[in-house]
Symmetry: D2
Subunit: 393 residues, 4 copies
């Protein structure tokens, strides 16, 4: 067995749909590619529907299952609680996990509200457990390489970031009113789901936000009731209609503490953009561009390139020179979406061994929540909102 | 001589730098490619510096020159006044031209203020002359083809536009404080110069704006004094420094009257983007993308394409099926920046013959000015501004 | 355990370097993504160096190891022999495996010579075992989708294929003379290694070759002796130099039985092309383009698209409509190089259950070998060579 | 009038269809963009059909016309003969022009045969006139910049060129049998028409060919009779059918005198490729890529770029650092197909003033003809042909 002589980190995961599949796969594959000081064990999975959770455990390779997530907290053969549930239960679960002394990995967004997020941070800190939030896109090698270039000062002072997360999976008015479109379960629509990713990338690469002004819109206001069926698919479960009470799109302007300005847009109504998570950052000495649909590449422009020879370089970040990439395949042999989770889990395992909480951790989740909340407040007031206005800490 | 037997439209142009070269070239080439009912004659050019204007007349093929632009108005061998001067004199010149019974083509932005723009519209209407504003990018075949697709309903109801005009020509802090960076001459920086273009494209393709909220920033606040030397080049003319009082970048969120939402950004600080005028429009039945740096192509996505075969099509708009393209070369033989002016001037000549003012005309210029002013007001107030708030009419 | 109640197919693998890692990973991940009627078990791995093979077994998750590959044939807990060794031992191993009644998966190229390949085909047929050759690139979803389009007649009669496999990993003259550059071990250079892949894709997508004329070149004729160290890396092991006796590049023109013509090129000296496996196919009704470095995308052009709207569509083959893609992640969430092996192994497992040998099998390997040999003969003679000339069967 | 005080070079052009339009446009625009020591005057145009040539003269701005091309030679107000006729009359006209003491610009390919080409070279040399052949694609700024990089040694020793000229304008079997498809008029099909361009680019950028082996095919063997109607359009003029006796495609492998190898392909049957003239050159220190459909860009890869930051740079060759580009518009404002002719004519005018024949001149046309003929001979013999074998000189 791979990693059989290493420290075993026994994971208990709550939830088992799209993100459950991605996380399980990440844990399974981590020891194959990375020589981490500890390896994850797929110990137990929890879900309310016994038939469903049992089948998921089998399909995804978990050793046992529970129908009550609180049972995972009681088991002493569980070291980590991994929360891949809808957003409205993140806080309750994460706090309980911390109080039970378990390390916690939580899906994004961290919480429904700033207040919840604050309590989650307090709980993990008080308990002294290791915590991370699963902003997996930070862990594309090209994104990590972008971070490295920025930290080395290769772009100089940052002037601009423009970031878009464009999807189109709910454009059909017949697409049902699943949990991801119900405010009481998800908190918000595209905003918390995908704007959260791009603002997290902005915080990672550019720095802290200082103020924002935003806009949201719901294009399809009524939909048939229904359920997610796996991945991002869904089916209507009756002829009944319900009101959509979350945003179909969210956009905002931003200023950062370091003087940079940003333009952000997230939508599920950009026809033809299946998963277009894109950003461009412009600094005084260069620029970078990234697009998730071509995630192995980073476009880099450097102003100190020789005149006449200046242009964006298309760098295939699959070389040993690029973060994480050396663990996989030879240069030019690309990796995919799922590997971002493996890379994140590498950091998580090392954090557990070292007793530190690698970024993005609950503090990042909290700071992201402040930005989400500031935009929401701005949408209500129609004016700019300073991040500090919504920060109770 | 090409077009020698056609109606001659005698042009008098005020100014002769970058735009003067582009306009002169447009007039010269129009009869070669299009069989218009009237052809432009490069009759006279005006500029204050005799040596400069004389040389320009010779280089660009104008039959005569004047050192006082008002002389052009007095000459009865001039039918059209073409204004390619800095923005602060557009209003005075255009109004005088209209009063002198001359047709008018004016560079963008139309004016320094809404009030000026209003007076300009009133003047051309009162005089009954034909008028256009030179938003040349509307006349790229790919943009015109986009318009056609939208008008035919191929994209359905429009949800989104995101447009960026990204340049980098003043990033060097040593780039001098030319007229394009001085508020008293230009009115604003990137905002009136290039944001004006993308909001004009949005009005052309999506519809009228209803409200906006914006942000501006000046990254380099002090520069050496200097002058434009041709194209977008400049040279410092002394060691003295001056304050930059216009924006280096401008960004704004927008709502349109038809329910669409928009995200706009214009900057001269996006390293590596020499002339990145780009937009993407998403509708309920499809999407389009365009980029000036690859201006012959239009990307088109149609939701009613067969499942599995859906994807953005890269359409090289050089076929007889594409507006204006049939006048040039066989399919796949691309045209360039300068041809957008030729196409615009085709419309202008036809307008003069027909006695109509083709879009974009001074009305468009005025409506664009309202959007520019609304963003400016929003930057002052920190809140959303309705277009109607700044519209005195 | 995933797939624990299914038929277990116990694999014994010979070799454990780059391809060993890719195959092991494929077996490990197959049951996670596909619900196949049988699942592979990583039973035993063989290699001459005990320390090396033991470490590999542990790292890659194999249950046991052997230092003599013939031991695998003797073990009755082994159902499949997977050969990932250098080319000069493929024939001996595959024939022995077949004679021992084991199913066989063999890396490409099948053999050193047509004669060897012939004996291999005869052996697997005589033994009645299931056999495949590991041309994994057939199994990119975009390539499979291309195949589907062609079979449905969407491209009509095929006129052209142009295919290139461009790499640059041995351009440095200091890169050592590893086994992949020694004729006695590998048979040929870029020719058998990567030209083999593109001609296999051509046979898959276009049809059988009828005649070829080719060219080879060795740019760096002497190199320091050394060894592969993993992936496509290597290190020199002494100051001694050796003669390179294989081709650095191979190119050939081809005619197909169905009247199509082809142009092929494989090289390891195309600076900047890390792994550029590309093809374009033109038919009477459309064209397709594919590039491994962006392997999730297929470019498709259809002549019956509406005039004016004709252009290559960029199709991200990550939807349930695309072969294999539905087993992974939602649309727009890309997969990578390694998943081509998983897809191939899905077919292999099903073949074993069904008693059939899915393409590409040893017959394909043999036919590919005929093309390789015909090009080699053509290089010697300087003239066109018919495939039938080198085919002893 | 532009350039009115400069030396006037009075042009007499024979032919007035697609190339006539492109050449006329080039002459007309040259003085507007370049300050050459001499300027072309559109003095007279010749064609057999009086109505047609008269209309063409008017449309394209020629001062007079002739219905017998030999009249141009007799006129002493003509300095240059520009030949834009079908290929079968190039030799007769060029030789007569030279004998009449006229400078000559001739469309490509230079001749129908090597023997004709030889006599043409002899004639211009004997007469001491200035001569050029119109391989306009050499004069794209990106191609000239590529040349500069190669000459500076930026790519080091050249290993590879692969070049394709892919079109699709005659794929429809109903497209008529125009002169471009009739051997007696054109000599060959795609071979002399577009393969000629890419082999000229190869000679320009890589060096002289030493040997070739080729293949040709005619996919549609019978077509309705008809005529070109302008550009690359045509119409059938009766229900009668005729045999196509030229190639629809041509492909060949090549070796160069400097040790480089090349792969070339030209076809008019590559659906979706309207005008895909593309090449990639790989050298020991870098690579370049160019594509006519995006002709302003050059992709450049340099092996001495910092590890991790290596990738193809997309250079928009519209800066003053790029050959010819400074004469047009600011950086990022692209030029098009027609400007390649303007740039070529700049060289031609300078050549006339200096008494030299800038490359590509008739010597280049002759050397190109040798390559064309070698490929043709190779198609007949089925074997490699050395260029020297077909060279009578």
């Amino acid at each position: 067995m791979v990693g059989v002589n290493k420290r075993q980190v026994r994971v208990g995961m709550i939830g088992y749909k799209f993100m459950g599949k991605a996380h399980s796969n990440g844990y399974r594959n981590l020891p194959y590619f990375f020589d981490t000081p500890a390896v994850p064990v797929l110990q137990a999975i929890a879900g309310r529907d016994e038939q469903g959770v049992k089948a998921a455990a089998e399909t995804m390779g978990w050793a046992s299952y529970e129908t009550d997530w609180r049972r995972l907290l009681e088991r002493d053969d569980i070291d980590v609680i991994d929360i891949v549930t809808p957003n409205n239960v993140h806080a309750e679960m994460a706090i309980a996990a911390a109080e039970a002394g378990k390390h916690v990995l939580c899906e994004k967004p961290l919480a429904m509200t700033v207040e919840q997020a604050k309590r989650m941070v307090d709980a993990v800190k008080k308990a002294g457990v290791v915590h991370m939030i699963c902003h997996n896109y930070r862990f594309a090698p090209a994104v990590q390489f972008a971070k490295k270039l920025i930290e080395e000062g290769r772009l100089g002072k940052i002037y601009h970031i423009r970031a878009q997360y464009l999807q189109d999976w709910i454009m059909d008015p017949k697409f049902p009113l699943v949990w991801r479109l119900r405010k009481e379960v998800t908190g918000s629509g595209a905003h918390g789901d995908i704007a959260a990713h791009i603002l997290d990338l902005a915080r990672f690469l550019v720095g802290e936000f200082s103020e924002v002004v935003g806009m949201m819109e719901t294009f399809i206001k009524e939909r048939p009731l229904g359920e997610m069926t796996g991945g991002l698919n869904a089916s209507a479960n009756s002829g009944k209609m319900g009101q959509v009470d979350v945003d179909d799109c969210s956009a905002f302007l931003a200023r950062f503490e370091n003087g940079a300005v940003g333009v952000f847009e997230a939508t599920r109504f950009a026809a033809g953009n299946r998963n277009g998570n894109r950003f461009e950052i412009n600094g005084e000495k260069g620029s970078i561009r990234w697009d998730l649909e071509n995630m192995n590449n980073l476009q880099v422009y450097l102003t100190d390139d020789e005149p006449g020879l200046q242009g964006f370089r298309t760098i295939n970040c699959t070389e040993e020179h690029h973060p994480y990439a050396g663990a996989y395949w030879p240069a030019g042999h690309i990796i995919g979406y799922e590997h971002t989770f493996i890379n994140l889990m590498k950091e998580f395992m090392e954090g557990i061994v070292n007793g530190t909480s690698p970024a993005p951790n609950f503090e990042d989740g909290y700071r992201n929540q402040l930005v989400l909340a500031s935009v929401e407040k701005s949408v209500e007031t129609g004016s700019w909102v300073k991040i500090s206005e919504v920060d109770p800490s």
